[in-house]
Amino acid sequence: MTNKSYQSLVVHQVESGVQLVQLNRPEALNALTTELLAELSAVMDVAEASGDIRVLVLTGSSKAFAAGADINEMAERDLVGMLNDPRQQYWQRITRFSKPVIAAINGYCLGGGCELAMHADILIAGRDAQFGQPEINLGIMPGAGGTQRLLRAVGKSLTMQMVLTGQPINAQQAKDAGLISEITQPELTVARALALAKVIASKGSLAVRLAKESILKGMDTDLATGLRFERHAFTVLAGTEDRKEGIMAFKEKRQPNFSGR
């Protein structure tokens, strides 16, 4: 792992293939500046290329995962500035990341923060977490997937309600609606995310990657296309050593030793 230092992030040492990335702008409730997004993209560039990093866990503080975009920064951009918004490339980088990302969410998860969390593959949250898209209160609207990923996660009615009123929902509502998969005691959110990440990191990395890709494909395509993609991915795995090892270990009733090949 590189020991690069970041302004807005703390990257914790890799352990069992897991890297913990903590948003670290406590003075601004982790509001997402361009710099923060750029750094997160850079972390993902490194993680993408590293064989040692299998899963990312993304978290904020006990008070806020991220309370939104940086309003001051946004206020400075006019229409042309917005068209050339450098943030777009960073969001695309985050979207493209091929390894699993688990978001461990405590406290405020609002606006751009909620959108960032929804980029993760698995979302778990502390009991006190709050999810919302308050952009409408500022005369704007979500601009990084808030109307799209939220819609796909929780359906039309709740998405409309959240986006049009700007009012947040709590962790229980988020779980009931399918936005997150688990609720924990707030102090254990990161520990639980790391535990899940370690489980995933112990699996064959090729299978994990193709499974993730298949699920994401299914999010935005019709069923027939999704099924065809899944079958192709499934078939590709037939050529891997990990598949042989996995099946063999199962038969021999032992732990598999995946090589990622």
Partner: protein, 263 residues
């Protein structure tokens, strides 16, 4: 810290918050709400504080909402009572429930309306023998707020909850004790000292552990059996990581009195 409508002080790990509008039976107006919020905030920030005691000055505990704050003009549009609940009462009740340390309520006299339900959000309620709890809401066409409709059935059962909430008659301290609604009844003149000595005792206990205990118990109302077992698992895991747990075990092995730091 000096306030106009409440008294607030910290001594020996105990934060004492006392409602101080005795002429209005300590009923809440907006200014008092804001002061209570500020005092609770500073208690939370103060690392010395390991127990919170809530009580009041004068002969009453709290008469709930100050109705003179809510003049109802028959010709004006209906008031939105939800606003003060959303802004003040609900946050107060939630905060008392979630307060990360034991909260003792010393009910020194009549507790009516929201004032009858604030004690129910606390962990240990000690009442003066002369204290009364009155769910006065029904007398003016309202419903028991500040958690009343939630706490009452859980503490005393549905039949008694309906009796109190529909009839609005005073429940005497002795009866409240008999019904399991409160922890203890003491003679009026001993109330403050009893509450404070209990508080001082609790201030020497494993504060973090106690906060997990109340959290587990409070959460149990929302959970099914299996979920609650998971909550116990989580909280025990966290409790096991406290310094006080280590000290507790060590003191037990060494057959001495433990010295808990609340950490």
């Amino acid at each position: 810290m000096s306030f106009e409508h409440i008294l607030y002080s910290v001594d020996s790990g105990v934060a004492l918050l006392s409602f101080n509008r005795p002429k209005a039976l300590n009923s809440f107006n907006e200014a008092m709400h804001l002061e209570v919020q500020q005092a609770l905030k500073s208690a939370l920030k103060d690392e010395q504080v390991r127990v919170l005691v809530l009580t009041a000055e004068g002969r009453g505990f709290c008469a709930g909402q100050d109705l003179s704050d809510r003049n109802v003009d028959p010709n004006a549009a209906s008031p939105d009572l939800g606003i003060s609940i959303e802004r003040f009462y609900n946050p107060l009740i939630k905060q008392l429930q979630a307060f990360p340390m034991p909260v003792i309520c010393a009910v020194n006299g009549v507790a009516a309306g929201a004032g009858a339900n604030i004690p129910l959000a606390c962990d240990l309620v000690i009442a003066a023998r002369s204290a009364k709890f009155i769910q006065a809401f029904c007398k003016i066409g309202l419903i028991p707020d500040s958690g009343g409709t939630w706490f009452l059935p859980r503490l005393i059962g549905m039949a008694r909850a309906k009796e109190l909430a529909l009839l609005g008659e005073p429940l005497l301290a002795e009866k409240a004790l008999e019904w399991g609604m409160i922890y203890k009844v003491v003679d009026d003149e001993n109330l403050r000292e009893e509450a404070m000595s209990l508080a001082r005792r609790l201030a020497t206990q494993p504060t973090k552990g106690l906060s997990f205990v109340k959290r587990a118990l409070n959460q149990s109302f929302d959970h099914d059996f299996n979920t609650q077992l998971d909550v116990e698992l989580d909280l025990q895991r966290m409790a096991g990581q406290t310094q006080d747990y280590r000290e507790g075990v060590k003191a037990f092995m060494e057959k001495r009195t433990p010295e808990f730091k609340g950490e």
